[in-house]
Each structure stands twice: as structure tokens, then as C-alpha cells.
């Protein structure tokens, strides 16, 4: 089903931030913001949190345990070898492989997590609101049903903070 959106287009980072922060103050619910590069005020204001760093930590922890126990199994339990009386469990020299292979595991799993959570994968069709958002425009998207404040009021607010365009758009549910 198609939904009605209100789109505010800004030309620069600081007009966007000013309008965005003012809108939040007035209790406007912002659906999404599209920018050509990451802007921390926006990421902060949207109140989304990413737990990808925690995920990466636990992938690493799991990898360390698996790798060390795997090497212990191979070198001590499954196929112990005598090297001039050295202990079978040559733990300190297992560390090198552990570090490097842990890094490899973290990378692969974190990339996979990113792809799944951010829904970024090869060949995905982009749900583009305004095609200029990857070039030079900064876009605020509001869902007309849930934006909480009246359309004329928001339009005026955006324009007073330097929006170059404010327009309505009907499209399928995005983002």
C-alpha cells in the first residue's frame, strides 16, 4: 500500500542540522534522513543505536576459545608429536595464529552481520526517495500519518531554516 510522505530538501549540512534539531524540539517524528555523508548530529538525533561493535567483540571471544581449543585438541589429544621433549601444549606460540585467525573470523562475521542488519547486499534495488541524496542534497523524510505536527507548520519551519524544497511524495513503505 502506498504511503504519503513529506520530503524536505536542504542544500547544506548546517541548514539541515538546524532544521532537524528544531523539528525534534517541536515534537516532530522524523521517519528518516538521507545524506551524502554521515553527520553525527543526525545519527545522534535519530536515536538509532548500533550494537555491531558488541557483536564483533563476542565473535572475537568465540573465535579465540574455538581456535585455542581446536589447536589444543590437534596438538595434545588427537596427534601429539615429540619435539625433543617440548610440551605438547606449546601454548604461547599458538597465540600468533589465534590473533590472526580471530581477526579473520571477526571480519567475516561482522561483514555478514552488517549485510543482514543494514539490509545491504549485492544487487539489492535501492528504495530511493530523492535521487540527489547521494550527490549533494540533504533529505528529511516525514511520514504524514505519524509526523505528529501539521503539514503547513512543518513546511514553514523547514523553509524558515533554509530548505530549498518541501514536497509531498507517495510511495511504498521504505527504509
Amino acid at each position: 500500500m502506498n504511503k504519503k510522505y513529506l520530503v524536505g530538501v536542504f542544500d547544506s549540512e548546517h541548514t539541515l542540522i538546524d532544521a532537524f534539531e528544531k523539528a525534534l524540539e517541536k515534537g516532530v517524528v522524523v521517519e528518516e534522513v538521507y545524506t551524502p555523508y554521515p553527520i553525527h548530529e543526525i545519527l545522534h538525533g535519530m536515536k538509532n543505536k548500533t550494537r555491531i561493535t558488541y557483536a564483533a567483540f563476542f565473535y572475537g571471544l568465540g573465535a579465540v576459545i574455538l581456535l585455542l581449543s581446536g589447536m589444543y585438541y590437534a596438538a595434545v589429544i588427537d596427534w601429539p608429536l615429540h619435539f625433543g621433549g617440548k610440551p605438547f601444549n606449546t601454548f604461547p606460540s599458538f597465540i600468533v595464529v589465534t590473533i590472526v585467525a580471530t581477526i579473520l573470523t571477526i571480519t567475516l562475521l561482522t561483514l555478514f552481520t552488517f549485510s543482514v542488519r543494514a539490509k545491504i547486499y549485492p544487487g539489492k534495488k535501492a528504495e530511493i526517495i530523492d535521487i540527489r541524496a547521494t550527490d549533494d542534497k540533504f533529505i528529511i523524510l516525514l511520514d504524514q500519518e505519524t509526523m505528529n505536527v501539521g503539514k503547513p507548520e512543518i513546511t514553514e519551519l523547514f523553509q524558515s531554516y533554509g530548505a530549498s524544497e518541501v514536497y509531498e511524495k507517495e510511495t511504498e513503505k521504505t527504509a
Binding site: H14, Y34, M46, T50, M71, V100
Partner: protein, 465 residues
Amino acid sequence: MYKTDVRGKLIDGEEKSLSQISAEILAPIYAKTPRWWYITMGIALLMFAWGIQSVYITLTQGIGAWGQNSTVAWGWEIINFVWWIGIGHAGTAFSIFLLILRQKWRTAINRAAEAMTVVAVLCAALFPLLHMGRPWLFFWIFPYPNTRGPLWVNFNSPLFWDFVAISAYLLISASFWYFGMVPDFATIRDTTKSKIKKAIYGFFSFGWTGSSKEWLRFEGLAFVLGGIAAVLVVSVHSIVSTDFAVSVEPGWHTTLFPPYFVVGAIFSGFAMVLTLVTLMKKLYNMEDFITSRHVDAVCRVLVFISLIMGTAYITEIFIAWYSGSEYEFYTFFKNRITGDYAFQFWAMFTLNALLPQLFWSKKIRNSIWVVFVISLLINLGMWYERFNIVVTSLSKNYLPASWAAYHPTSVEIGFFVGTLGMFTAGVLLFFRYIPQIAISEVKMVAKFNKQQTSHLKSGNHHDYE
């Protein structure tokens, strides 16, 4: 934070709008392919073809087609392997270390450095693979439950560490590079007029829209990959150095090796970056983005690293005398500084430790063609360094009866030339089809070009990236 008054502007020319930045960086992709590109590509492919022929001979006749003998069991292949891996160190070093040091000038260069890394590591990986003799059984190096015992790999061998480290390094630098390009591919998708480009770059842009949710996770991912890749930069070449240092060969058995190798790798990598950016600057008119101050900054880094290299060379020589070990003494004083391999030693010393000292002069740093030539010569010097390490130590060690000389055969030369062709072709493809400079990152730092003013809220932020 980046101080405009310390290093000057990040982007030259008249103040650019964001769409101008996209358009200027993407110009080579939209323009017609220049004639020199086809000519260079032709030469690169010819070189590559010679490489293929050499690999074919190696595969059908075995590594007996190479010049190695039982004394000098490692020759050009290990030299070239270490050389390429060293060059491959710059991409991640650039991206990560300059990120940690908050050097915003890296944004114009990091993409090229990372691209070069990926191609160089691919070139490097071919050498140990072929050196195995029976490369079709290379998967035996994976520690997997097998029907040969199961016989496990030696987890204490630096050669196995090397295998793990290089696979990890290749994967991480490739993914770090690729994910950095996703927003730029989306920019191409959304600005191109060609339907074919829209479809192809659209596919590779993974459905990127630039929403805050995407940027948030993108930054999280960059943080994780960057953080762990910093460890990897140091560990990969340390591990390569242990391939040598854990043996008892004179000239190899030294604790200096890991830092010496890591610094040397970054040295050669930065030199190759310098080669590439001077080419980009001149051939693709990227002069507004890669300013003379960018080149200047890389040159300064090279002077500093060159001093470390010189210190390392002299330390090795000093310890060979001071340790009182006659074998060490012989290797350094009779087989490197003087003797059969004196030319290679002094070529290394001159090109790596002395020549880059010219960069103390501002005039030389500003003269782009001199910089270009010196950057090539440094890479030649770094090749001689690896020759010194590999060949001189092996050729005359403890037992005079087994002393031998080493000469490469045409197959080995062809193999090396083939990888040079592969590298050149890879770089040319990069120049032609991929945004040479990270567009979104340049846009992000473009605001630092203006005088800092208090109303510019985001100008106060330095915890970016």
C-alpha cells in the same frame, strides 16, 4: 581536529559545491578512455602473458625450472613475495594509522592506496603458492580433519602463520576497500545518464540510499574493521619476518627483524602510493584534490621512515661486529658490504637510506617529476633489500663446501614481470572504472576548507569517521 592554518587547504581551486566534487572525481569514469590507457594496458597484458607462460612452465616442469639450488633454496620468488607484500602494506597503513592520527588529508589518497594493496597482495600470494611445487595440493595447508591421519598442520610454523595472516589481510583490506566504495557506487548510480552504468554500479552499490540507519551501521563497521586491521598491519609483516628470524642462518637470526620488516613494508608501500598519486594528479587532473601539500606530506613521512631504515641497516652491521659471532661478521662484512653482493647492498643502502634524504628540500618535494622518480627508485631499493636478505645469507653460510651462487632463470624473470603486468593492469582498471578518490569522505572534509566559524555547528566536531 584538522587545523586549516597548519597544513593549508584540503582542496585546491575555487570553492567547490558538493555536486562539483562528485562530478570532478567521477570525470574519468564518464569520459572516453584515453589512448595512453589502451597502450599501457596493452603493454601490461603482454607482460602478464609472459608471466602466464612462465607459470605454465613452472607447473609442467616443476620448480626445477627456477634458478634455486640446495644452498640458495629461496630466490626471486621469496624476494618478490616479500616485496609485493611490503607494497601491499600501504593501503591499510594509510587508512588506519592516518585515521587514528586524525589526518584528514588521507581522504584524497586512501582509496588509491587500498586499491593498490589488494592488487599487490594478490600478486604476492602467487609466489608462495607456486613455490609449493605442487600448488594443486595447496589446500593441505588448511587445518581440516582429513584422511591423512588426520595429520594436522604445524601450528608453530611461521610459514603456516604466514598463510593465515595473508589470507586474513587480503580479505580485510579487500572488504575495507569495497565497503568504502559502496556509497560512491550509489553516487554513480544516481548521477549517471548511461543505463548500463546505472545497472552495473546499481548492482554493486548494494541498494545504498544514504539513510541515517545505513550510515550508522556503516560507521560501526568501519570502526570494527579499522580497529582490527591496525593489529593486522603490524602482525602480517612481523610474521613474514619470522619466516627468516626463527632460522639459524647468519643475517636472519635477529630480533631486529619484525620492526625492521614492518617499517620497511610501510616504507615501500608509501613509496608506491606516491607513485600512484603523482600519476593520478598528472594524468587525471586530480590536482585540486591531491594537492602539492598531500604529496609534501607523504614525502615527509618517507624522510622519517628512511631514517629508521638507515638506522636498522647500521644496527645490523654494528651488531654483526659487536656480537663477536664470526658467521654474522662474515655475512655482513665479507658478503654484503664487500664481496660478490656488494653492488646489491650499496644499491639498497643508497636508494633507501640516502636518496630519500633529498626530501628534506622543499624544492624537491614540490617538483612532481623528481618525486615520481624517487618513489620508483625507493621501490627498486626495497627490492634490493629483500635480495640482500634472501640471497646473501643463504649463499655462504656455515659450511664452505656447500657455498653456491644464485642466478635467476628466464622463467623466474618472466614470472616477476608477469606480476608487474598484473599490478599495472589492475591499477589501470581501478583508474578507469572506480572512483579514484573517496567521494563521500572528501565531501565530509570539504567543510574544513572554509574558515572555521562558530555558527557552523558541525565544524566543532572531530569525532567523525
